[in-house]
């Protein structure tokens, strides 16, 4: 067996020269220090995305978009198709864990300042991936065509309409018409299963390429250690195996959630019934939704909602460009200004999310 394997590799090596791959596997190393755990968060996110691809493609075999078929086909998947309920639950749960780990990954990179030169573009591509992840979630939410998703999409797309000049055309573009109808569903379906996977994969490839080229970031306290005190483990096989172990753990958590907390399908959407109580977006949009809700209708002469949206737009954009913004360290401050900004942002998101579920 081993012989066949090495023969195959030799065969490929002779023709395509595998030196770069061999170099990477032999020389790539990962620093070991008290914050090493955060190196694993990106890997978990990647693993969950692969699960999305796999389960998403399976769902596609039975899912049928359309006002008269979407809800029915999802019901068919969860009641008639063997293990259909499991695949759907895994897809829904994994989507949520994916967003969660993407956020954890992003903030760990932020607090360890791993985005600094030369890794600016790794940060920017990572942020773009996160935005597309949210777009995956928003478009996927509508696909089962149930009441909750229908009204959440109505609200989510109507908000876009408050942006001056481009808002209204953008809303019509997203909805495929004036209202949320079967046309919206068709669009969201195409976006969810074709447009986003393609763009997402492109930026993900870039993101991973940058990481491979530059190796792992070493935090300040590690870099300042004397050379002989710096501990590393080889990427292959040590780090890769630890990665794998964590993936197995996450996979088990995912299956546990999918088995014991099934995703509800709810009632079919009907454009002519009142919105039921308890309409809310997915949890990862809650902090924005809640902030918009708390804003007064008018601030001076601008609509509160418009101001809120502009605020989040600008804040997101600045956040994406963080590696290019220089913030001076204050030697005599206990917490550095940048860390303080991060803490304020995380607290804001957490508080607003909690308020969203309490109020």
């Amino acid at each position: 067996m081993k012989n066949i394997g090495s023969k195959l590799i030799a065969w490929i090596d002779e023709r395509y020269d595998l030196t770069p791959v061999r170099n990477l596997l032999e020389h790539k190393k990962v620093p070991v220090h008290k914050h090493s755990i955060w190196y694993y968060m990106g890997g978990v996110t990647l693993f969950l995305f692969m699960i999305q691809l796999f389960t998403g493609i399976l769902l596609l075999l039975y899912y049928r978009p359309g006002e008269d078929s979407a809800y029915e086909s999802v019901r068919f998947i969860v009641t008639n198709v063997k293990f259909g309920w499991l695949i759907r639950n895994v897809h829904s749960w994994s989507a949520n864990l994916l967003v969660l780990f993407a956020f954890i990954h992003m903030f760990s990179v932020f607090f360890s300042k791993a985005y600094e030169k030369p890794r600016e573009l790794t940060w920017v591509t990572g942020f773009i991936i996160l935005i597309f992840t949210l777009a995956f979630g928003f478009s996927g939410y509508l696909l089962p065509w149930n009441e909750l998703a229908f009204f959440a999409t109505k609200v989510g797309t109507d908000i876009v309409g408050v942006i001056p000049i481009i808002g209204e055309p953008l809303k019509v573009f997203l909805r495929g018409g004036e209202d949320v109808t079967g046309a919206t569903l068709s669009r969201f379906f195409g976006i969810h299963v074709a447009v986003l996977p393609a763009i997402f994969t492109f930026f993900l490839a870039l993101h991973l390429l940058f990481i491979q080229r530059q190796g792992m970031h070493e935090p300040e306290h590690f870099k300042n250690l004397p050379e002989e005190k710096k501990k590393y483990i080889p990427f292959f096989p040590d780090f890769a195996l630890k990665d794998l172990l964590l993936w197995v753990v996450v996979f088990n958590v995912l299956i546990f959630l999918a088995l014991y907390f099934p995703w509800e399908l709810g009632n079919k959407a009907d454009a002519f019934t009142p919105a039921p109580a308890g309409i809310r977006p997915e949890w990862y949009f809650m902090f924005m939704f809640q902030s918009l809700k708390l804003l007064p209708a008018h601030i001076i002469f601008i609509e509160g909602e418009l101001l809120g949206i502009l605020f989040f737009g600008v804040a997101g954009f600045v956040w994406m460009l963080i590696p290019y913004i220089k913030i001076k360290n204050k030697p005599n401050w206990k917490i550095q200004p940048l860390a303080l900004i991060g803490i304020i942002i995380v607290s804001f998101i957490v508080v607003m999310t909690v308020l969203g579920y309490l109020l």
Binding site: F151, K154, V155, D158, I159, P169, V172, F173, G176, G177, D179, A183, A271, F272, T273, P274, A275, P276, A277, G278, I279, K293, A297, E303
Partner: protein, 143 residues
């Protein structure tokens, strides 16, 4: 002379190139913009028999593609209002307990004349005319 000729050709190519790109972008953008579906011209709809419609209740009527909420108050008055919340487009409902119109999405309320009285809705609900012709309820667009 040589240079001028090269410049001229470059400009020509540039214009041609931009034209080519526009000739691709324009049809694609137009394709993305959904066609206006022929709005069925609806001026009035029948909404069932007055006798079958109990007091202190409501139903949603399809007025063409627009949802309209028809309410019979406790004192048997009929009211018809647009059912699309003026805040972010959810569909409102009549609350039998508070005798008000309520939007579940962000807790907006309107009185029975459609006036926004609390919560985020910025404008009142549009009113429709209601008539009863031989016990048949007929809703028509006001004005």
């Amino acid at each position: 002379m040589q240079i001028d000729r090269r410049k001229f050709l470059n400009i020509l190519l540039g214009i041609g190139g931009i034209g080519g790109v526009l000739a691709i972008i324009y049809p694609v953008l137009s394709f993305l913009n959904p066609p206006k579906s022929a709005e069925p011209k609806v001026n009035s709809v029948k909404a069932g028999l007055n006798n079958d419609f109990p007091a202190n209740s409501s139903k949603i009527i399809k007025f063409g593609r627009q949802p309209v909420i028809l309410i019979k108050t406790e004192d048997n008055q009929l009211k018809a209002l647009s059912a699309s919340c003026t805040h972010l487009d959810c569909i409102v409902q009549y609350r039998q307990d508070t005798k008000q119109i309520w939007c579940a999405c962000h807790n907006g309320t309107y009185d029975l004349n459609g006036r926004n009285i609390s919560g985020p809705p910025p404008k009142p609900l549009e009113e429709y005319e209601v008539k009863v012709v031989k016990d048949e309820i007929v809703i028509t667009k006001a004005g």
